[in-house]
């Protein structure tokens, strides 16, 4: 509010008018230029590239400014990271035992090789020699064992403990050898070692920092291509290239990286168009036409394992399966994908979407299971109304928590409101700030009063069991509904212990048929990865695999 009396009654209105007139001129300018931008956008659609990688960088950069997906991370402790921002930053700081490649395949990283023991009851990792932490200390099996065990240490509040559920012990059997024994075989575990669940930090540093590890105050000590130089809360994170990085093929091309926390779609779009920000992952697709037409850089659209869902929180009407099913029946996913996501997404009707590169040898089995479930593509308003007839929860309002700053989410929420109203459901949108939303996923108190969360969750690896482990087991971290079905639990546990891909797919299909009937989430879309890099910048992975690889190490100058 302005001060309109401090300098006399007459002066203030004059100033106000000047301000308002300036604003008017700005808007008129925008209005004049926007149609031009639109025209350019239409002509420049060829600037979108569908690929998992961008052209390799040939030159170095003295500094690189990148935007973090969904804002400031809540932590940089790998054991507490399960969100876009924390995962993306941590993957540049800490190496994992195995590496996730842009095509989602897995290759050696800190572990140069690995082998299973008899009946898959143990797994031995042979560690690479010559790897050093940033402080010069060599990496040993002691660091690896300590780092891995933090994922099951309740004092650490780990969020990825589900992937260690079948682990019986982790021991060092030599300076560069680690043996993991299982209580039952686990086919998923090795894949998770290519994600943040397989990250390694220095033991002495972890012990010294205790609960402050991964915070702005405590910092991080790892062996990755970038060192954490500074974390200015609310402002940015600064990384510096690790000039002694063991993997010469991933030696950072940028000497310094500044990670900004811009979450507002319009501000981010303007910053990318103006070149103030060099690039970003997870660019909101609502402004794709503007970025495509800007000529400021290139938009890359790549394959992703990210899913856009309405996640019931187990409160209010969300506990009613009919309400969840009816919502799923009226939402026009095709229109959502086309109009709001500008084609950078495809409709999805199941918790685990149609096979996205699951075990190729079992593809037809997975496909069959999915074919049995898939629903009609067009909204079924009458059928949804009939389903809800007499349901006492219809009269209760539904609170939908959504990210305040993301235009995709705001538009989607409003669309859901409109479509739910057609079947008599009253949806109230509650806008949450990025940190609020991130907390709501992990802290029950922060979900209070919210019935559904509009989420962009993701599979870490190409294995449906990865995602299900977080949602459908009674102890799953994201099982807000308290869903419990003994057959599902048993089938999925068996599947995780089954190394035969076809047998595993069959078990998965059996469980899927049961939990899908309960509509434990309202699936909306499979998202594509959207990456933008300004002119002269290239080298980033453009598939969703970026999230678990040292994604900024390869970013540098184009020819």
């Amino acid at each position: 509010m302005g001060v309109f009396v401090s300098k006399g009654i007459m002066h203030r209105p004059m100033r106000q008018r000047l301000v308002v007139l300036s604003a008017a001129l700005s808007i008129v300018s925008l209005a004049v230029t926007s149609p031009l931008l639109g025209a350019v956008a239409a002509e420049a659609s060829s600037k979108v590239q569908y690929t998992s990688t961008s052209p390799a960088a040939t030159g170095t950069l003295s500094s690189l400014t990148w935007d973090l997906p969904f804002g400031e991370p809540t932590t940089l402790d790998y054991a507490q990271s399960a969100d876009y921002g924390p995962d993306m930053v941590t993957s540049n700081l800490c190496d994992s035992l195995l590496r996730l490649n842009p095509d989602f395949t897995i290759s050696p990283n800190l572990a140069s090789s690995w082998s299973y023991g008899p009946n898959h009851m143990s797994l031995t990792f042979n560690l690479r020699s010559g790897v050093k932490f940033w402080d010069g200390h060599p990496l040993t099996s002691t660091d690896v064992v300590y780092s891995m065990l933090r994922n099951v240490n309740p004092k650490v509040n780990p969020v990825n403990g589900a992937f260690y559920a079948n682990v019986k012990s982790i021991v060092a059997s030599g300076p560069l050898k680690v043996v993991v024994t299982f209580s039952r075989p686990d086919e998923l575990f090795i894949k998770e070692m290519a994600t943040i669940s397989g990250d390694v930090a220095e033991k002495t540093f972890l012990v010294a920092k205790g609960a402050t590890f991964g915070t702005a105050k405590g910092g991080v000590m790892c062996s990755g291509p970038f060192e954490l130089t500074a974390w200015h809360p609310g402002n940015n994170i600064v990384l510096t290239a690790n000039s002694h990085y063991w993997n010469t093929s991933l030696e950072p091309k940028a000497k310094k990286v500044t990670l900004d926390f811009i979450t507002d779609t319009s501000i981010l779009t303007s910053a990318l168009k103006s070149g103030e920000i060099d690039g970003a992952f997870e660019v909101p697709s609502s402004t794709l036409p503007a970025l495509q037409g800007s000529g400021a850089g290139t938009v890359y659209i790549g394959p992703s394992l990210a899913l856009y869902d309405l996640a019931p929180t187990g409160q209010g009407p969300s506990v009613d399966p009919k309400i969840r099913q009816a919502l799923g029946m009226v939402i026009d996913r095709s229109a959502l994908a086309k109009q709001i996501f500008h084609g950078a997404a495809t409709p999805n009707y199941t918790l685990i979407p149609k096979p996205m590169g699951w075990d190729p040898t079992a593809l037809s089995t997975y496909q069959q299971g999915w074919n049995d479930l898939k629903e009609p593509l067009s909204p079924a308003v009458s059928a949804a109304k009939a389903l809800l007839k007499g349901d006492p929860n219809v009269s209760k309002s539904i609170t939908l928590g959504t990210l305040a700053t993301n235009q995709n989410d705001l538009d989607t929420s409003t669309l859901i409101q409109q479509e739910a109203a057609q079947i008599g459901l009253h949806v109230v949108v509650k806008q949450l700030q990025p940190l609020q939303l991130s907390s709501a996923f992990f802290v029950a108190a922060d979900r209070k009063g919210i019935d559904f969360l509009l989420t962009a969750g993701y599979l870490d690896v190409r294995d449906p069991l990865d995602y299900l482990g977080l949602i459908v087991f009674p102890t799953s971290i994201f099982n807000y509904l308290g869903f419990h079905n003994a057959t599902v639990t048993s089938d999925l546990a068996k599947a995780q212990s089954t190394f035969d891909p076809v047998a595993r797919a069959s078990l998965f299909n059996q469980a899927q048929a049961i939990y899908e009937a309960q509509h434990i989430v309202v699936p909306l879309l499979n998202l594509n990865e959207v990456v933008f890099m300004k002119k002269g910048i290239t080298g980033a992975t453009t598939s969703f695999a970026y999230i678990y690889e040292p994604n900024l190490a390869t970013v540098g100058a184009a020819k």
């Binding site: 007459m10 604003a23 008017a24 319009s266 705001l410």
Partner: protein
């Protein structure tokens, strides 16, 4: 005819007002009346319900069917603009009515009672001055929740001292004029003097301040809605429409943000100029 005779004896003719530039006042008043009428009769004037949309017809430009085009969810922008006038004008109206009432009550009572009470009110106003309106509104939203109520309460608190300080200054001058003393001599009570004489005599200043403050309140409320803390979707409100239309604006469809901005600017400019003219007239009269 002298100036005194013109002011006191005969009201100025239309031609005389026109020479002073007063047609602008009429035009602006007419615009405001028109906008208020549009808000009141939105259900009759709007071609579509405000929340009715066809997402497959999103971001259309102006046409015969949709005079101002459609937004990113395929809703008719004109209809939302007309319905949006309701909440956009209701919020600032509530703020100004409440803030003016509190401000006048505080200012007149402190001037009349004087002494420690006057000092206490002055300190209270100083304290309230220390809180920026927008910050107060964000705090209120955090406590009460998003919607119109929290910003209205917060901005009422924020605007009260601005109006109260001006009213107090004028009332203090009036308090020491001879006519107040005469009223006391003839035995009128304090209530009677305040309500029959003091308040009517400060009312032109109050009107000028309230009019100008209305524009500021409208901009503040629009800003709060723009930040997602005020009126919530899918309700139509101009600040919210500016925010909702941002992506479309960047993508080359400026109509939603542009039309909402124009409405905000027209109303704010109109009330500010009107407030300025009222204040000018008061100065001339004084």
């Amino acid at each position: 005819m002298s100036v005194v005779e013109e002011l006191v004896l005969e009201p100025p003719t239309f031609v005389q007002r026109a020479r002073r530039g007063e047609p602008l006042v009429y035009v602006l008043s007419g615009i405001l009346v028109l906008i208020v009428l549009c808000a009141l009769f939105a259900p009759l004037l709007a071609p579509f319900p405000p929340n009715h949309g066809n997402i497959l017809a999103a971001n259309l430009g102006p046409s015969g069917a949709h005079w101002l085009g459609t937004d990113q969810l395929g809703r008719d922008i004109l209809s939302r603009l007309l319905y949006g006038a309701r909440l956009s004008l209701l919020g600032p109206t509530m703020i100004i009515v409440f803030a003016t009432t509190f401000a006048v009550a505080l200012a007149i009572s402190s001037v009349w009672i004087g002494g420690w009470f006057d000092q206490a009110v002055a300190r209270l106003l100083d304290t309230l001055f220390a809180f920026p309106g927008l910050l107060l509104a964000i705090l209120a939203v955090a406590m009460i929740g998003p919607g119109l109520l929290a910003p209205v309460i917060a901005l009422t608190l924020a605007y009260t001292p601005y109006i109260a300080r001006v009213v107090r200054t004028v009332a203090l001058r009036e308090r020491h004029l001879a006519y107040v003393e005469s009223c006391q001599v003839v035995g009128l009570s304090g209530w009677q003097i305040c309500f029959r004489h003091l308040i009517p005599n400060v009312s032109p200043i109050v009107l000028a301040q309230a009019t100008i403050a209305f524009g500021s309140a409208l901009v503040d409320l629009a800003a709060i809605s723009y930040l997602g803390l005020g009126v919530q979707p899918p309700q139509a409100e101009w600040g919210l429409m500016v925010s909702d239309g941002q992506s479309a604006l960047l993508n080359g469809s400026p109509w939603e943000s542009l039309s909402a901005c124009v409405m905000i600017i027209v109303v704010v400019l109109s009330v500010n100029i009107l407030g300025e003219r009222i204040a000018l007239r008061n100065e001339r009269a004084a």
